[in-house]
Amino acid sequence: MGTKHKMTPRQKSEFLWGWLFILPTMTGLIVLNIVPIFQTIYQSFFKTGDFGKGNKFVGLDNYAKVFTDKDVWQALINTLKYAAVEVPISIIIALVLAVFLNGKIKGKSTFRTIFFLPMVAAPAAIAMVWRWLYNSEFGLLNHIFPFRVNWISNPKIAIYSIAVIGIWSIIGYNMVLFLAGLQEVPRDYYEAASIDGASGIQQFFNITIPLVSPTIFFVLVTRLIAAMQVFDVIYMIIDNTNPALFKTQSLVWLFYKYSFSQGNKGYGATVVVVLLIVIMIITAIQMIGQKKWVHYN
């Protein structure tokens, strides 16, 4: 717009310093993230040859293959099942715990520390421990319960057993986010409700939930995005020989298998583009749906 000539010394200095300051970040971001987005999409139109050698343009063949690929469809179902269990249950438990800890409770910070603990443990280690807890012969769980369950090798329940690990891992994180949200709810709302004779449960549904609905919405959106990318726990718990493998493999697990175990980067890229599209659809639906239940002041 030719403003360059009219720049005051101050504007010129801001321009130079501004670009100098963002240069490292933007260079890294463009090289590491922005360009790779397009490279991955580009790659999804190619077939990688045997041993990862050679790239043959195949147009939309990979996408056609995805639509008929039983593994991909099943992985999509598994991923959705995992997310549908992990996200709502962890949010409900975390919200209830946050409401409890927001009251006058002794040992508040001890409880908070304990609930948050799984967040600082490596998922690889957590998965190993749970695999041991779930062990059908010698596991702790089968000794606590009077019945025997093949927690992680029964194809019907394995994905839910994995979701339990996900819930256990994330409760503390969600809870701390809710605690931050709850601190902004004015106390007098509750006092007024108590005077009117509202019970604790009524207050929870009529005051707490509407007032922290922006936080609930935020946690819901971000947790669903993260849950759709579930990989670590499934990779660690389900062996290639596990009979529940077909019913537990997630989209990212398939992406890893195709791209890096089998070296077919073209098809791996296609799977991850499909994942991106699914995540965008889920997020868009929530953005539209929020008007019905999220209250911003």
Partner: protein, 274 residues
């Protein structure tokens, strides 16, 4: 203080939840001290080891070079934290306080990156790393963490919360933009830098897929990725696996318990600012 019935129920629920949260950790510790015989004994079921043996730890430390794994993991964490904090502090300030052409578009790219699932970047990043011959190197481990879009956003928010008159005063005193940033503004965002540092450290420590892909060599990789290999190595010797898991988890847990306030605020409140 009178304790009502409701309070008692709340305490009971909190205690049960704490128990559920702690059992897997406790079971990891207990199993790590057991013999294989004790761990697989069914009738009667053994909860506590008859003797607190260190044999499993000896065996694991003998077979796996944990010193190397620790070194790799800690180096990767330190480098990623330094890179993220340094680049994000600079960029965050520019996005929050300076006016220049192209700013909005560039900040749009930062936001765009944050919305994309990270697996999208992995294949091209891996191709770059292997072309640069950085597989099985520290540079390879560090590579995706050289910059942080999330950190840039977080620091931008922190700068936006600072009063403007500080900069005006510095400018009247003859500071240029670089000096104002370095001496006046950057020191005021220390808490955001600490939050970003902790956030980066924990997520680098937990990351599994990237180190597995880029550093498959058992001596060049991180703790998380080495653990995934041990499962095959020690097959179903659970006491040894639990000993390895404990060795891998313990330092982070100890640091967490010591600095729990900073940890929880660092991870969760920065997560909440997205």
């Amino acid at each position: 203080m009178r304790i009502s019935g409701k309070k008692i129920i709340i305490y009971i629920i909190l205690a049960i939840m704490s128990f559920i949260m702690l059992v897997p950790f406790a079971w990891m510790v207990l199993t790590a001290f057991k013999t294989v015989g004790e761990s697989t004994q069914v009738d009667p079921f053994v909860i506590f080891p008859s003797k607190w043996r260190l044999d499993n730890f000896d065996e694991v430390l003998h077979n796996v070079n944990f010193v190397k794994l620790y070194f790799n993991t800690i180096m990767m964490i330190i480098l990623r934290v330094l890179c993220a904090v340094l680049t994000a502090t600079l960029a965050g300030y520019a996005f929050a306080r300076l006016e220049f052409r192209g700013k909005n578009f560039m900040f749009g790219l930062v936001l765009f990156q944050m919305m994309i699932p990270s697996q999208i970047f992995i294949i091209p990043q891996y191709v770059m790393v292997s072309k640069l011959h950085w597989t099985n190197t520290m540079m390879g481990l560090l590579f995706p963490g050289l910059v942080s879009a999330f950190g840039t956003f977080l620091l931008r928010q922190a700068y936006m919360g600072l009063p403007r008159d500080l900069e005006e005063a510095a400018r009247l005193d003859g500071c240029n933009i670089g000096q104002t940033f370095l001496f006046i503004m950057a020191p005021l965002t220390k808490s955001a830098m600490v939050a970003l540092g902790i956030f980066t450290a924990v997520f680098a420590y937990k990351d599994l897929m990237w180190p597995m892909i880029v550093c498959p060599d058992t001596n060049k990789t991180t703790l998380a990725s080495a653990l995934s290999k041990m499962q095959g190595q020690f097959s179903s010797n659970y006491p040894e696996l639990m000993a390895a898991a404990l060795i891998a988890c313990l330092p982070m847990i100890v640091i967490y318990v010591l600095f729990q306030k900073q940890f929880i605020e660092g991870i969760a409140t920065s997560g909440g600012k997205l």
